[in-house]
């Protein structure tokens, strides 16, 4: 297996009453080793549930109904979807860890930072002594540039700022040297200057630790700054996938184009902020044609009838649009 993580034909469904509703389908992703991979899309496109599915963290009644998620661990290759609860827990936090959007609420408010860092450590290393854990915790805090790590260890989450908490979350996520870090909108809740710091920190840590990062975001600026490869999600599908330069400079899909136009920039021409009309159709309300058809400015007749297939536009650049290929999804 040449990739660290290979997701094949992932399909996630939920129950709405007695009805099964599709939230995600036909998702194929390859995450290379030591690569940072971006997943971008509007809210409700299936970005976060993809990440949650990798760690088996889908909340009831969501479930993976089809597909495989193969992962190459330090000494073994496995299908994460077929692991039992115990084996899955051994992967969580140790092989693959995750950081979340809201640093302010991601730590338990009633425990100190120290206790929560120890918890992450001691679960995977029960043999570790308290002093060794403390040393490791301090080292991690130091690496994520926390000033006064000693004092921070003794603090409760409400005494720290969002930026500090997100650094601590990153420290906890990386405390067991995982090989893959799933970052679910890690900077969305932070202000812009802190955002830049956190992204730089994640980049540095990736270089130091040979950790692959999956960066889930709706901010193309974040993607541009951190990622090498990008997949654009729309309504539970990948609509475009390419390396980061191609996404920005050889944009193929009208949806990606719309996202790029909607990016705000300082010093740009004075114009009204571009928005893509309409909203993402929620799961269960997808048309049989292209799911973006209703909002697309270049929609053709056939777009409403048939679903375009994800085809290669140029080597390594895939797009799901009839503008680039006649091929339809069977």
């Amino acid at each position: 297996m040449k990739n660290l993580l290979e997701i094949r034909n992932l399909k996630i469904t939920t129950l709405r009453g007695r009805e099964t509703v599709h939230l995600l389908n036909q998702v194929d992703l390859d995450i290379r080793k030591k690569c940072s991979f971006g997943i971008v899309g509007e809210s409700g496109c299936g970005k976060s549930i993809t990440a949650n599915a990798v760690l088996g963290l889908l909340p009831y009644p969501l479930r993976v109904s089809e597909g495989s998620i193969r992962y190459e661990s330090k000494n073994d290759e496995m299908d994460l979807l077929s692991l039992d609860a115990k084996a899955l827990r051994a992967v969580r936090g140790r092989e693959i860890s995750m950081i979340f959007q809201e640093p302010m609420t991601s730590l338990d408010p009633i425990f100190t930072v120290e206790m929560q860092m120890f918890e992450a450590l001691s679960f995977h290393h029960p043999e570790m002594s308290r002093s060794a854990m403390r040393e490791r915790a301090l080292e991690m805090l130091h690496r994520v540039n926390i000033p006064r790590p000693e004092q921070t260890l003794a603090s409760y989450p409400h005494q720290l700022s969002g930026g500090q908490l997100q650094r601590i979350m990153i420290a906890i996520a990386l405390i067991n040297d995982p090989r893959l870090l799933l970052a679910d909108e890690p900077t969305t809740a932070l202000d812009v200057t802190i955002q830049a710091q956190i992204l730089r920190l994640m980049n540095d840590l990736k270089e130091q630790n040979d950790t692959s990062i999956v960066m889930i975001t709706h901010d193309l600026g974040v993607i541009a700054e951190t990622c090498e490869e990008v997949a654009v999600f729309y309504a539970g599908q990948i609509v475009e996938q390419a390396d980061v330069a191609a996404i920005f400079h050889e944009t193929a899909h009208p949806y990606t184009h719309g996202l790029l136009q909607a990016v705000t920039s300082l010093g740009g021409a004075e114009r009204k902020l571009y928005t893509i009309p309409g909203i993402v159709p929620p799961g269960g309300q997808w048309s049989r044609g292209c799911r973006f058809a209703d909002r697309c400015s270049r929609c053709m007749e056939k777009c409403k009838e048939m679903m375009p297939a994800l085809t290669e536009v140029s080597p390594g650049h895939r797009c799901r649009c009839f503008l680039h290929s006649e091929e339809a999804e069977s």
Partner: protein
């Protein structure tokens, strides 16, 4: 970057000193605490406080109005009302605490299971709770006592069962809230076991509403006991209970109003104190919480 040096204070954990101090600083909280403390003192030190034997009848002093030797007067058997009220506090408190203990214990367990595991288990548990909840509590408690037989233990069990659903619901609702928080998602993402998440992270975080509910349920339980005893299916003679004292006093209400006034007064003080304390506790533990 903000570096705040606020004093470390743990708001969610009950039973620590700062919460008691916060309660004391709130006028309502203070009133509640004093009232509750008074009742507890009466109950604990009953043998030393009560001037007479509760069961001892005094044929020479039937229906005596309150005076220097019988502070609250005597009843139709010549028993000292004050002594009976003091011992009645003991009965009320024990019944209340044990009943709430039963209700809280089972309610917590069922609520945890329902909230944490969801699916069919939850549906079944909540359906049973809804059925219990549908009965007027006093009626259901009477049913249970009628089936089990009248005794102080059965009274506690009956009141306990009747109160399970409120705890179950409170706990389930808070477990669901806590469960969907990011820190639980985070705890799962670092590989913690379900059970350790349940006990280490969920339990302490649902303690605040749970504690408030327990305080409020205590007053409810005491009131239910009084009502049951009033109806004759609660505490049996010769054990003194405020409810049965009221019941016995009905016939002599016009001739000896003190027989009604004092037990009623103590019921009111007790219920009021616990309710005020519960409300104040809620405000201290979580100002956003409204039960």
């Amino acid at each position: 970057m903000k570096q705040k040096n606020r004093p470390v204070r743990n708001r969610a954990l009950p039973g620590n000193e700062s919460i008691l101090r916060q309660l004391w600083n709130d006028p309502m909280g203070r009133a509640g605490m004093i009232g509750v403390a008074l009742i507890i003192l009466l109950a604990v030190f009953a043998p030393w406080i009560a001037p007479y034997d509760v069961a001892k009848m005094n044929a020479k002093a039937k229906l005596t109005a309150p005076n220097a030797s019988f502070w609250f007067g005597t009843d139709n058997f010549g028993r000292d009302v004050f002594s009976r009220i003091v011992y009645g506090a003991r009965v009320s408190l024990i019944v209340g605490i044990v009943a709430v203990g039963i209700a809280a214990g089972f309610g917590y367990l069922l609520g945890m299971i329902a909230g944490f595991f969801e699916g069919r288990v939850e549906t079944v548990i909540m359906m049973v709770m809804d059925v219990i909840f549908a009965f007027p509590s006093i009626l259901l408690a009477l049913f249970i006592v009628a089936a089990l037989g009248t005794s102080i233990v059965n009274t506690m069990i009956a009141i306990g069962i009747v109160n399970i659903p409120v705890f179950c619901r409170t706990v389930r609702a808070s477990v669901k809230t806590v469960k969907s928080t990011d820190y639980i998602a985070n705890a799962r993402s670092i590989g913690l076991k379900k059970m350790s998440i349940l006990f280490r992270h969920v339990t302490p975080n649902v303690m605040a509403p749970f504690t408030v509910q327990a305080t409020l349920a205590l007053s409810g339980a005491i009131l239910t006991e009084a009502s049951m005893s009033f109806l004759g299916l609660g505490i049996q003679p010769p054990d003194p209970s405020w409810g049965s004292m009221l019941s016995d006093a009905r016939k002599f209400m016009e001739r000896a109003p003190w027989l009604v006034i004092f037990p009623a007064l103590f019921i009111i003080i007790t219920i009021l104190s616990f309710n005020i304390l519960g409300d104040a506790l809620r405000d201290v533990l979580d100002p956003k919480l409204k039960l």
